[in-house]
Amino acid sequence: MAGPTADNPYSGNTHELIANYLADPTEEAILHMVDADPARTPTFALFAKPDYYVSTGGTSCTDTTGSSSSDCVEQDTAYAWDHGDYAAEIDTNYLGLVGPGVAHLGLDGSPPNAGPSSAGPLSGQTTVPRSGTTGTWIDETDIRPTVMYLTGLRDDYAEDGRVITEVLSQPVPGGLGSPQVEQLGACYKQLNSSVGEFGTATLEAATAAIESTSAGDTVYATMDQKLARLDQRRDALAEQIKDELYQTEFLGGSIHEPQSETQSCRQLIGYADHLAVAG
């Protein structure tokens, strides 16, 4: 079944699919979009190609892309900088740190003219893991624990992020700066971030399953069960890792088996990757 399409003057494609990815409640949970109130859980979420802004309107429109409100797709020259979507140039960001306790590292990663951008024939179609950026991989949840650590403060709850030990100038306690623990921290990011390897692979697997048209929705139902079980295993391991990191960063604890946990982490990511490729 062909999906809703549009003519895109920027890609040059006629009747291109508007959707890039779809997430049902199971995948939404993996992407941290589900909270304690079930009434807030969307029936499904659609991640459009980022040239598009999706909204509701009348059921009667002309199936064309143009400048008239009667067109099903209207070019809006007042807005051109789209965000809040899944695309490497949207989801890849920078962080600059300076101050007591921060090492003078210079640029750690891709320079400004080498990161993901909206140029090129694959504009908006590159995933974060495949975008080719270099340097220490962090996400925004890591900023708060890092600042708290640098200021000598701590929260009374385990953070979702980790202290970015790679940028610290002073030795850190409990083996936090050891290669083994930093490898665990790096894998934890790929496991728990919505745009890391795990989140990306499961989103691709969920999309393919939702699109499937098998009799009785068996393909969809089977994948949904696999993803639900994988989500439970991810949550359990991520909870364990982040608790241990928090205990070590702020409460004098230590991580006893970082290599074993890293191995478990890579296995879960590998399984998600397998689901994305093989279903």
Partner: protein, 115 residues
């Protein structure tokens, strides 16, 4: 500490896309190390710049003959709330989401498949 909350996708003409800004050598600025210098400014002819606002209600009705009632949070990544909160395997609900096929992944990323 300095950062931004997220990046942006430019919905418009660009280098390597089907339509490009003018003049052909425009680059906006040059970057050398950490130094950004203004250079040849780009201009965008009519029809080459601006997000594509998709009326999903109209597209579903026009292209798919699908008038399943729903509410929506407008966005590039909109969240659909199908009226009546049907289960995910109800035919009408499943129909609404499966009318949105997206490109399939064709190449694997690094990883160690375990099953």
């Amino acid at each position: 500490m300095i950062s931004s909350d997220e990046g942006d996708h430019e919905a418009g003409a660009n280098v390597g896309r089907a339509i490009q800004p003018t003049p052909a050598n425009c680059d906006g600025a040059t970057v050398s190390g950490t130094v950004v210098t203004p250079d040849v400014a780009c201009t965008y002819p009519a029809g080459s710049f601006g997000e594509l606002d998709a009326n999903v209600t109209g597209l579903l009705a026009t292209e798919k003959s699908d008038t399943t009632p729903f509410s929506l949070e407008d966005d590039t990544a909109p969240e659909f709330y199908v009226k009546g909160d049907p289960g995910r395997t109800r035919p009408r609900c499943a129909h609404s989401s499966t009318t949105w096929p997206a490109p399939r992944r064709t190449t694997p990323t690094p990883g160690t498949p375990t099953s």
